[in-house]
Point group: C2
Chain length 242, copies 2
Amino acid sequence: MTLRRHSLLSKNVARALRQRLRREYQKGGRLPSELEIAQEYGVSRGTIRDALAILEREGAIFRRQGSGTYVNQYALNIQASIESAYEFSDLIRQAGYHAEIRPLTVERQPLPADIAARLERPPASDALFVRKLFLADGNPAIYCLDILPTDLVREPYQPEELHAPIFDFMRQRCYQTVTLVLADIIPRVMDGELAELLESPVGQALLQFDEVSFNTLNKPVLFSRVYYRDGYVRFSVLRKKM
Amino acid sequence: MTLRRHSLLSKNVARALRQRLRREYQKGGRLPSELEIAQEYGVSRGTIRDALAILEREGAIFRRQGSGTYVNQYALNIQASIESAYEFSDLIRQAGYHAEIRPLTVERQPLPADIAARLERPPASDALFVRKLFLADGNPAIYCLDILPTDLVREPYQPEELHAPIFDFMRQRCYQTVTLVLADIIPRVMDGELAELLESPVGQALLQFDEVSFNTLNKPVLFSRVYYRDGYVRFSVLRKKM
């Protein structure tokens, strides 16, 4: 009952193929045979089959019974797939902008009751509040607040380390590996504080994601609240009807 | 390179298991062995393995190396998974409300240029505009506009048929089966028209999904614009970090 784990090689081949499809199959079309692709990339047929299975699951390619494998040009053009784990800077780059991180503040504060509940901690227990802004071509595009219970921190650290991606910090200083993120998708209207942070008019719509990250033992280890200013990163989702 | 297709039996067993997990594993916990579950449901181990693979892919269960299969209680409580194809009435019922459909209007109109482009039709070609409201406990929760090019309609029909789920109409009267839906997720603010339709204050945030549906040949056959009033249906997404 295990899901097939894809080898690093298959994943790399899938990445190379994905880039090639974006370049050469903007109008869709039929792919060469597995054997031909395998020869071209100098890898086994099993590896190619695995790489194509990854692309099929993403929706980038599909099979037509008895006729071959085709490119789904619509899925190729998805800017930010909502199912994928990503780093914010990558999202901004994928949308075609220059990405930059602006660290804002790091504070120790007690957990508000609702967030404590989602992190399965007692209310008011101590946590690190890390605020960052992600810029697209110099303009604020994503605002992120990470809330990390301090009971998880196992190693001394320099404050600057919290400016790096939080998952790196959690691995290195908390020995925590995040395997699953559960995100609630919430429509919001800019209030004064968000408008100032995101340099946008009050009253504009934006997306809020409330995310709980779980470690390998399925325990909640991080709460994040992320705001996406509309117009920079747009999320899409590809649904298969079975 | 084909994705494994799950049998109807596996899917039914997965559905039964999912309901049972929601009832009996609200705090997580370890599942009985494959063999035990197979015996209990009177199906083969292969079928159970398949059903568990479906639940693992949804994130509802996960394997811990050498220790067994566990329930992810967080994933179980997802109200509306954004990756799943669904009917609006089911979404409303899953959120705990009584669901009702209120058909609004059916009109023939020319396609606006942007939607014509997404449907790969000439601008101003003829289309059916079908508007419906979905009520939760009698309150407007979802407003849906389906835009179907009339060149697809192959059979005469009664206007009331357009009040049924549009995918049924497309199968029966257009011979079109939708296999894939690409949805853009857009934050919006209620304007006067939406506020009146959804009986909500102007200025409130809501989610807009712009959806293009594709048939088995990967051709766009339907454009839908759907508005979800916040507070009734909330979407979540479970992301696996690889």
